[in-house]
């Protein structure tokens, strides 16, 4: 019985691991193929099934005029938008989360929990609902197709995540530490900056990672609110997909685009195994 269970367990884990890895492996091998080995029947193993070459990777650094795919600029745009929006969301979200965790608010029937719910519930908002007014608004103030417009929109996407994680986190940081700081003569801002924040670094890192993940992987808003001036990475890759870009350069650019966040998986796992996530995500 227990042997069978162990067998099934490992079988399932290995099966899922293969499923997870399959598209990456496929993309990796495809990125080294040439015309013949893509279009002349399916090939798998380099050197055995086909002769690998670096053409798919070389076009990544070529200029578009010479037939390159030009993902360098979208790459930096994506990085810039994601990091800026995440930073703003984390700062504002952390301040609000601290207030919601430490002080009591009451305005009529609206209490702390309702305000927290208001923040988090913004995730329910279907992007399409916002995209139409944003499209018309940004075009009326000439911010359509600009980095600033995108950052503004991304703050709406990311701040709920920051508030969600940080409220839970602050609830676990003992109140005594702020009280001690206040008794020692700090004003509330000093207490927050010098005592509470340094004790909340794991929470901040988790919130930051989630903001970066959800900012980096967004496609919808970038797709609707930008055209040619500013292109983010996902939009660029999808544009490559619908043009006649060959599979090898498509695969290479896709791999380059998803690579940076895979490092985040290692960081998340570290915090998970240390038990820091259990309080932060709930």
């Amino acid at each position: 019985m227990s042997k069978l269970y162990t067998f099934l367990k490992y079988f399932f884990i290995v099966f899922w691991a293969v499923f997870v890895v399959a598209p990456f492996l496929w993309a990796l091998t495809t990125s080294f193929k040439d015309f013949q080995s893509v279009n002349g029947g399916v090939t798998y193993i380099p050197w055995v099934d086909f002769e690998p070459n670096l053409e798919g990777w070389k076009v990544l650094i070529k200029s578009p005029a010479k037939g390159g795919v030009d993902i360098v600029e979208p790459y930096f745009n994506s990085l810039f938008v994601t990091c800026t929006a995440s930073l703003i969301s984390i700062i504002l979200g952390t301040l609000s989360a601290y207030a919601l965790s430490r002080y009591t608010f009451k305005a009529g029937f609206v209490k702390n929990n309702d305000i927290t719910f208001f923040f988090i519930s913004q995730r329910i908002m279907p992007p399409i609902v916002l995209s139409i007014p944003f499209f018309l608004f940004l075009s009326s103030i000439n911010l359509l197709d600009s980095l600033v417009g995108l950052i503004v929109v991304y703050i709406v996407l990311l701040m709920p995540i920051a508030v969600w994680i940080m409220v839970d986190f602050f609830n676990k940081v003992p109140r005594e530490i702020d009280e001690t700081a206040l008794i020692d003569g700090c004003n509330p801002y000093q207490a927050f900056l010098k005592v509470v924040l340094p004790n909340s670094i794991p929470g901040l890192i988790v919130a930051g990672m989630f903001c970066i993940i959800f900012g980096w992987i967004d496609f919808f808003f970038a797709f609707i609110l930008t055209f040619t001036e500013v292109q983010l990475l996902p939009v660029k890759i999808v544009a490559l997909n619908s043009s006649v870009t060959p599979w090898w350069s498509l695969s290479a650019s896709a791999l380059v685009s998803v690579a940076p966040l895979i490092i985040v998986a290692f960081i998340v796992e570290r915090y998970l195994s240390k038990g820091n996530l259990s309080g932060a995500i709930k």
Partner: protein, 287 residues
């Protein structure tokens, strides 16, 4: 004493969020009462004509909504079952525990649309590896162009992409469980199956509810994957609400009508998610 300080902490975030959101929402409502389209761009007032059209004369919207419900509920159930199984398996010591934990998290870190581009080549009818392997058995399913199979393909891709998120939430939950109930069960000599049914699962109920609701919210936005994988096709067989609104609003520029659809859609989402949350809480927390 801290009367003023607390507002300094709360208000910047709150006001930025409200400031960015309030006008779009009011604008959507106002826009939905206008006949804004590409011939006639402007905020005229046509009353609730758009809503009448939506409720009486647009089966395509409702079909896309039921399709969305089907897709999101199916994918979330699959993600929950698989995610829970995986989390439970790597919870206790197994070989290469941390390797598997990292590996199982990886898909959620990758951009859905970019991976979908890869999936498209993966499921390609003649040049993709799936059909190459299946052709040995004489099969060549049309993953992207058969109406029923295309839905299935969307589900596979969604499950691949988002099971890790469920896995993460549930594993974090499992790791935070208290040890005492498990010790008690071990002393009573409970079998692993009974231990799971009577101890682990009830203890995980609150976390499960949270995780399912979060995933349902995110799944109800399915659009990127569909756009890249099938563009709603073949026909309208994988078209979801968001995608239909997108076609009406930003492809055909029937802004007024699209606004009335998106407002209706928002209201339905809020109501149905609230009901689902209530029902799940009742079901899973009945003890």
């Amino acid at each position: 004493m801290n009367f003023k300080h607390k507002y300094f902490f709360l208000f910047p975030g709150l006001f930025v969020l409200i400031g960015i959101l309030i006008f779009p929402i009011i604008f959507v409502v106002r826009l939905s009462l206008s006949g804004w389209n590409s011939y006639n761009p402007g905020l005229d007032f046509i009353g609730i004509e758009n809503y009448i059209r939506l409720f009486t004369d647009d089966p395509r919207f409702w079909e896309s909504f039921f399709r969305l419900s089907f897709l999101s509920v199916t994918t979330v159930i699959l993600q929950y079952v698989i995610g829970f199984a995986l989390a439970h398996m790597v919870w206790k010591d197994i070989k290469f525990k941390r390797f598997f934990r990292v590996l199982f998290l990886v898909p959620m870190m990758t951009t859905p649309v970019i991976m979908t581009v890869i999936w498209r080549t993966f499921f390609h009818e003649s040049l993709g590896p799936v059909n190459d392997i299946l052709s040995n058995f004489g099969l060549s399913p049309k993953w992207l162009t058969d109406p029923a199979l295309a839905k299935f393909t969307v589900i596979i891709v969604e499950v691949w992409q988002w099971t890790p998120f469920m896995f993460l939430l549930l594993l974090a939950g499992l790791l935070s469980l208290p040890k005492e109930p498990f010790l008690a069960a071990a002393i009573d000599g409970a079998s692993p199956v009974r231990k799971f049914i009577y101890v682990t699962f009830p203890l995980m109920a609150p976390i499960s509810i949270g995780a399912i609701i979060i995933r349902l919210i995110e799944a109800s936005k399915i659009m990127d994957t569909v756009y890249v994988l099938t563009s709603g096709g073949p026909g309208t067989s994988t078209e979801t609400s968001s995608f239909y609104i997108f076609i009406k609003g930003l492809r055909e520029f029937q802004m007024g009508y699209a606004a009335s659809m998106s407002f209706t859609y928002l209201i339905i989402m809020i109501i149905s998610l609230t009901i689902i949350a209530k029902v799940l809480t009742k079901l899973l927390l009945k003890e």
